[in-house]
C-alpha cells in the first residue's frame, strides 16, 4: 500500500510555557488508504481505538483529557483535524520531545467496516536535562547552570533550577509548575529566587530574595493570573558618588504583595506580529494587607494593535501607562517606581534616563505614559527572500511619553495636565532582526525631541535587544 502525505491545517496559538512556537511551518500526517480507492472525504467513520506508544512515567489521566475529542470525529477530515489538535495539545504539555500520529483502519474481531484506529507515537523527555553556560558582561564574568526536570510526577509538573555564579554577584531561582490535568491553562507555580541587579543610571544596587506563588486561569478569551509575592529587598549605593537621594533609600525592606494580571492576546506572534492585538493589565495591591513595610497600590497596562497593510508591511501602535499610589505617609521606594527611556522604551534617550533625577541619578517616577507608532516593511530590494532576509524588517517609528511624580492631593484634571506637559518624543528609522520566537534586536537612527533638562539622550545610532519593545 502506498502512503499519502497530507498537508495539515493551521496550528493552535501557542500558550504553554515550554512551547517554542512552530510558526507557520507545515506538518505532515500519514494516512494509509484502503485497498479499494474510494472517495474518503465525506465517508462516515468511527474512531474505535486510540493507542499510545512510548508512555513511561506519564500518568494516563492527563493523556485521556487531551485526546478526548478525537473520539468525537465523524468523518475522515475531522479525524485528521482532531488528531492534529490533540497532537498540538500533547506537545503543549511540555513532556514529550516528539509526537507522531498514525491513522489506520481497524483490524481485529470487533472492527467495524468504517472503524479507524489512531495511534500516537510519543517520545518522552528525559527526566533531567541540564545546561551550562558562561557569560561575560559589564566587567563581570559568570557561569550559569540550569537544571530542568520535566514531567516530574507524571502529570506534567515541571521543576526548573537556575544558578548563576559570577565574579561580582550570585543569583539563583527555583520554580515548580503544575498544570491542572485536562485544563492546561489552569496552572499554578511556586518560585523561590535571589536576584541581584546593578542599575548604573540610578547608581543603585538591588538584591532581592523572595518567593512567589501564582495561579493562572482562563475566563473566556482572557487569561488571568493571581499572585502573592514576598520579597526581602536590599538596596545600596553602587558607588561613593551616588546622590544623597539614592543614599537615603539604602537599607532593607520587606515587600509582600498580592497582584492580579489579565492578558488578552490575539496576535499571531509576540515578537514581530502581523496582526492581532494585545491588552495586558496588571494591578498590584500591597502591604498593610499581607504584611511587609511597603504599602502602595500600583497599576500598569500595555496595549498593542497591529494591522497588515499592502506590500507585506505592518502598521503597529502601542500604548503603555502606569501609576503608583503610596498608601499612608511613607514615600514610595525607588525600587517600586517606574522608569522611562532607552532602546526598548522611548528610543533616542539613554536607558531609563528620563524624568526626576538628582545629581545625575535617575529616581524614577510614580506615573508615566508612553506611546509608539511603527511601520514595519520588508528590506528594500528583498535580499535573501524566503531565507535569512525574512528575519529582518525595516522599521520607521515615532515614540512619545512622559514620566513624573503626581501630587495626589489634586484632582484627575491636574494629573492629566501634569502628564501632558513636557512630553518627550522621538522619531527615526532602523532595522529589526527577529531571533526565533524569543527576542528581537534593533539598530535605529533616532532623533530625540522635547528633551527636558536632566534627561540624557542617545541621538544618532542606538542598538537595542530585548523581548518587550514600545
Amino acid at each position: 500500500m502506498g502512503t499519502v502525505h497530507a498537508r495539515s491545517l493551521e496550528p493552535l496559538p501557542s500558550s504553554g510555557p515550554d512551547f517554542g512556537g512552530l510558526g507557520e511551518e507545515a506538518e505532515f500526517v500519514e494516512v494509509e488508504p484502503e485497498a479499494k480507492q474510494e472517495i474518503l472525504e465525506n465517508k462516515d467513520v468511527v474512531v474505535q481505538h486510540v493507542h499510545f506508544d512510548g508512555l513511561g512515567r506519564t500518568k494516563d489521566d492527563i493523556i485521556i483529557c487531551e485526546i478526548g475529542d478525537v473520539f468525537k470525529a465523524k468523518n475522515l477530515i475531522e479525524v485528521m483535524r482532531k488528531s492534529h489538535e490533540a497532537r498540538e495539545k500533547l506537545l503543549r504539555l511540555g513532556i514529550f520531545r516528539q509526537v507522531d500520529v498514525l491513522i489506520d483502519t481497524c483490524q481485529g474481531d470487533d472492527a467495524l467496516p468504517n472503524g479507524l484506529d489512531v495511534t500516537f507515537e510519543v517520545t518522552e523527555l528525559r527526566r533531567l536535562t541540564g545546561s551550562y553556560n558562561t557569560m561575560v558582561g559589564n566587567n563581570e564574568g559568570s557561569m550559569v547552570l540550569g537544571l530542568k526536570l520535566p514531567n516530574l510526577l507524571g502529570r506534567a509538573e515541571k521543576v526548573t533550577f537556575q544558578f548563576s555564579y559570577g565574579t561580582k554577584e550570585t543569583s539563583y531561582g527555583l520554580s515548580f509548575f503544575k498544570p491542572r490535568p485536562g485544563n492546561f491553562e489552569r496552572n499554578f507555580s511556586v518560585n523561590l529566587y535571589k536576584v541581584t541587579g546593578q542599575f548604573p543610571w540610578s547608581s543603585l544596587r538591588e538584591t532581592d530574595r523572595g518567593m512567589s506563588a501564582e495561579y493562572s486561569f482562563p475566563i473566556w478569551k482572557t487569561s488571568h493570573t493571581v499572585k502573592w509575592e514576598g520579597v526581602w529587598r536590599e538596596l545600596g549605593c553602587l558607588s561613593r558618588t551616588a546622590s544623597f537621594a539614592v543614599r537615603k533609600e539604602s537599607g532593607h525592606s520587606l515587600k509582600s504583595s498580592l497582584s492580579h494580571a489579565m492578558v488578552i492576546d490575539s496576535r499571531n506572534s509576540s515578537i514581530l506580529p502581523r496582526r492581532g492585538a494585545l491588552l495586558k493589565v496588571n494591578q498590584v495591591e500591597l502591604a498593610g494587607y499581607t504584611g511587609g513595610d511597603v504599602s502602595f497600590i500600583k497599576e500598569d497596562f500595555e496595549l498593542q494593535l497591529n494591522k497588515q497593510l499592502i506590500f507585506d508591511s505592518v502598521f503597529s501602535a502601542s500604548f503603555w501607562g502606569g501609576m503608583l499610589v503610596p498608601i499612608g505617609d511613607k514615600p514610595s521606594s525607588i525600587a517600586d517606581r517606574f522608569y522611562l527611556g532607552g532602546p526598548t522604551s522611548i528610543r533616542g534617550f539613554s536607558m531609563h534616563s528620563i524624568g526626576p533625577q538628582s545629581e545625575g541619578d535617575y529616581l524614577g517616577g510614580e506615573a508615566y505614559w508612553a506611546g509608539g507608532l511603527h511601520l514595519y516593511t520588508p528590506l528594500p530590494f528583498r535580499p535573501g527572500q524566503g531565507g535569512f532576509g525574512e528575519l529582518f524588517r525595516t522599521h520607521f517609528f515615532l515614540n512619545a511619553g512622559n514620566l513624573c511624580n503626581l501630587n495626589y492631593g489634586e484632582g484627575p484634571k491636574a494629573h492629566i495636565r501634569k502628564l501632558a506637559e513636557c512630553i518627550r518624543w522621538s522619531y527615526g528609522a532602523g532595522i529589526v532582526l527577529r531571533l526565533g520566537n524569543i527576542a528581537r534586536l534593533e539598530l535605529n537612527y533616532c532623533v530625540p525631541m522635547g528633551v527636558q533638562t536632566g534627561d540624557r539622550i542617545c541621538d544618532g545610532v542606538q542598538f537595542g535587544a530585548g523581548i518587550r519593545f514600545l
Binding site: L235, G236, C237, S239, R240, T241, F244, R247, K248, S250, G251, H252, E359
Partner: protein, 221 residues
C-alpha cells in the same frame, strides 16, 4: 573614586563655608541604637557644639546602610558625606575649625594617646556589654576602672583635659561616659565604676550644661 580624585574633591569642599542645613544621621533612639553607637553619636555632637558649628540630628532606621563606611554617625554637609569621629575631625579641620590647634606637639600626642585609651577600653567595654553578658565581665570592669582612673588623674581639677579649652578628647570622653551613665542596662556595675570618680561626673555635667542645655537644645535623652 580614586584617592587623588577624593583628595581633590575634599579640597574643593574645604573652601565652602559650613552650611546652615548640616545634618547628622543616627539610628532611632530608644528602640534601635546600641550603646556604642549612641556614645559615638554623642561624641560627634559634643565636638560640633564645641566648635560652634550648627548641626541638626535626624534619626533614621536605615542610618547604618546610608553611611558610606557602614558606621554611624555620619554627617551630610553640602555635598559631602563623612562618617565617624576621626574623619569628621579632619573634615572640620579642612574647613578651618579646630579645637586642638592651640596645643603643642607633645600635648597633641598625649591627646591622641588618651583617645586611643578611651577607644580601646571604654568602647570595648560597651561592645562587650551589649553583645555578651557573661562571667568574664569581671575583667572588662577592671579595664574600665583603670581607664577611668587614668582619665580622672589627667583631668584633675581642670575644667577640660587640656585646661581651659575643650578638645576632641573631651568630646569623645563625654560621649562615652554620658552614655554609660544614662543608659539602662541589665548590669549596673559599669556605671557604678564610673560614678566612683567624682571629677568625671562633674565633667560630664559641665559639658552637658554648657553645650547642650544652654544652647536651647534641652536635656539629652
Amino acid at each position: 573614586m580614586s584617592l587623588v580624585a577624593e583628595a581633590f574633591v575634599s579640597q574643593i569642599a574645604a573652601a565652602e563655608p559650613w552650611p546652615e542645613n548640616a545634618t547628622l544621621y543616627q539610628q532611632l533612639k530608644g528602640e534601635q541604637i546600641l550603646l556604642s553607637d549612641n556614645a559615638a553619636s554623642l561624641a560627634v555632637q559634643a565636638f560640633l557644639q564645641m566648635c560652634n558649628l550648627p548641626i541638626k540630628v535626624v534619626c533614621r532606621a536605615n542610618a547604618e546602610y546610608m553611611s558610606p563606611s557602614g558606621k554611624v554617625p555620619f554627617i551630610h554637609v553640602g555635598n559631602q558625606v563623612v562618617s565617624e569621629l576621626g574623619p569628621i575631625v579632619q573634615f572640620v579641620k579642612a574647613k578651618g575649625h579646630s579645637l586642638s590647634d592651640g596645643l603643642e606637639e607633645v600635648q597633641k600626642a598625649e591627646m591622641k594617646a588618651y583617645m586611643e585609651l578611651v577607644n580601646n577600653m571604654l568602647l570595648t567595654a560597651e561592645l562587650y556589654l551589649q553583645w555578651c553578658d557573661e562571667a568574664t565581665v569581671g575583667e572588662v570592669l577592671e579595664d574600665v576602672d583603670q581607664c577611668c582612673q587614668a582619665l580622672s588623674q589627667r583631668l584633675g581639677t581642670q575644667p577640660y583635659f587640656f585646661n581651659k579649652q575643650p578638645t576632641e578628647l573631651d568630646a569623645l570622653v563625654f560621649g562615652h561616659l554620658y552614655t554609660i551613665l544614662t543608659t539602662q542596662l541589665t548590669n549596673d556595675e559599669l556605671s557604678e565604676k564610673v560614678k566612683n570618680y567624682s571629677n568625671l561626673l562633674a565633667f560630664c555635667r559641665r559639658i552637658e550644661q554648657h553645650y547642650f542645655e544652654d544652647r536651647g537644645k534641652g536635656r539629652l535623652s
